[in-house]
């Protein structure tokens, strides 16, 4: 088994090192000065880069927009915990404005997103584990409710991961990923419409 895993280890390491969102390596040890040491571009380019990325997809490119001098450019992040079907936890930091689905994908957390966040499926279904956090979310739209209808293992605090957007009040939120694979095969009397 090891012999077949070794060739994959190199690319795995490379992927981790060079992925743009460094949250996956510095999980829980998010440290601005650490990032700057590695990532700070030459000072004269810094300003123009900031202008370029201001207001754009800062969520993905936040490493370019921060220095200790221009602290107000830095995107705020919150702490989010994903709990998978086996109970294993993964703590990540999510920039404000990013959806939970995106954040999961950036951190290689196994959350399916068949329709890529366009409110046309229910595969990114997550369960908000604490009701206080659930209540802080905006009510789901009709469109989200339509898709939640079809989610497996639906609960009172279920939401679609692509519709939960990180904001400061959600710092510390815990999201459970339901075990869809086994659930659907258990034929309860819940109808499966098409």
């Amino acid at each position: 088994m090891l012999s077949s895993r070794l060739p994959r280890l190199g690319p795995w390491i490379a992927k981790r090192l060079f992925t743009r969102n460094y949250a996956s390596i510095y999980r829980g040890r998010y440290n601005q000065s650490t990032r700057n040491r590695f990532l700070q571009p030459p000072a004269f380019q810094q300003l123009s880069l900031n202008k370029l990325y201001n207001g754009a997809m800062i969520g993905k490119h936040n490493f370019l927009s921060t220095t200790s001098n221009e602290g107000n450019e830095q995107k705020e992040t919150i702490s989010v915990t994903f709990v998978d079907k086996d109970g294993e936890e993964q703590h990540i930091r999510v920039p404000v404005g990013m959806s939970m689905l995106e954040a999961a994908h950036e951190n290689d957390i196994e959350l399916e997103g068949a329709c890529e966040g366009s409110l046309a499926c229910s595969t990114c279904h997550v369960i908000v584990m604490d009701v206080e956090y659930y209540n802080k979310l905006e009510d789901p739209t009709d469109e989200e409710n339509d898709m939640l209808d079809l989610a497996f293992g639906l609960s009172e605090t279920s939401r679609l991961g692509c519709q939960v957007i990180a904001k400061p009040e959600l710092d510390g939120i815990r999201l459970a990923i339901p075990a869809a694979t086994r659930n659907f095969a258990v034929d309860g009397y819940v109808p499966k419409p098409h």
Partner: protein, 502 residues
Amino acid sequence: MQNVVILQARKWFSRSLSSFSSNPLKVCVVGSGPAGFYTAEKMLKAHQQAQVDIIDRLPTPFGLVRSGVAPDHPETKSNSIELTLPENLQQIVINQFSRVAQHEQCSFLGNVTLGSSISLSELRKLYHVVVLAYGAESDRSLGIPGESLKGIYSAREFVWWYNGHPDGRNLDPDLKNTDAAVILGQGNVALDVARILLRPTAELATTDIANYALAALEESSIRKVYLVGRRGPAQAACTAKELREILGIRNVDISIQEVDLRLTPADEEELKSNRIKRRVHELLSKAAAKPRTAGLNQRELHFVFFRKPDSFQESEDRTGHVSGVHFEKTVLKGDGPGKQIAIGTGEFEDIKCGLVLKSIGYKSVPVDGLPFDHKKGIVPNFRGRVLSDTSGDPTLLEEGLYVCGWLKRGPTGIVATNLHCAEETVLSISEDIEKGMLISSAALPKPGREGLLQLLQDRDVRIVSFSDWEKIDSEEKRLGSSRNKPREKLSTWDELHKAALE
């Protein structure tokens, strides 16, 4: 000791299937709809050296994603902050599947029919693993008198017709000699066909609906559509999104009897624990309470409940053609939620119509050499592993044979349901490989794609590759652009073969 040695040898062989490129795992997936493509995608992810071939009897891939999605379904807009194109689910899924087909180790082979181009047993000799994902291409029948009268079709055929499927091309339904259509069933497919009959044709003209269907609908004299269910609103199989859509069509007057909306105690129980039904019932109640504006509106949609079809009536003027449906009124019996059935009351009622669409469920078609459960209309299986008979004994397995999608679960669910279905089947395959259960037929390399291509060549079968499909795709888009449609589907076998193979 000997057993341990044999076990270790088997495990070594089984690992060799996946990890050594000299004996890669050869997989054949039959069917290129969502079940087939999600299975191929997950197989390639789980077994990095595997070679996966996807065969389909049509020259075009994607199954119901191409031929079953209603042409007028509105775009769903992207909510994310990403600068991606706001495409609808159909296009997103087609893009995903195309990426799988273009994977180095994957091949799409269209125009290859299981059962005629090649038999199941021949396929199992060529590949280590065969996954059947060919869906359900037949219909449940009512078994009542008059079912073979002209003017009675299954919703499946009707959908194939307006979606340009080559097997639906010649349906030629008569929409000009009647003002009423009856649809039996109240699931989402029933709502789809009702919507196509009622929607202003100007709105259909810019979709990818087949041009001959559009022409027929433009000349249609149908003004009243009845959606008839045997039971009540609490048992209707449609979902909120589709119901809201049909209730919102312009210039259609909705008719629902408020008395039908009254709930039995068992109904209340069913609704309490079922979000979908609760929301459906809310929508129907709101629509029933709205004042009728008949006269101003040109078309009518009637939701009819508690009517079971007893027989079809033949026209006196046009022999052999349907002129109405004879219904028996029903009541619900049974106290358990989810267990209420419709019982006839002995009272009858007729609805006059010239078109009947039966939307009561699809059914799968068995092939030679395949164990089949005729009662349920599926292949007996345990988590995707095909069982040798319908006894349910999980130890009687057909080695190397698996199922996924509607053929495995029955014709229910949405596109995304197949994602989870494929995960389960692929997990079963991986477990079986790990346990060395595929050894007796898989210790040696298998011919796989080379063997299949040779056999098909010997039989003069012209295979349509994925790049051949792309020629069909470009041609359809080209034809569509001059008519302000996303595409104009090629809907005869000849046109499809010509575009692909010349």
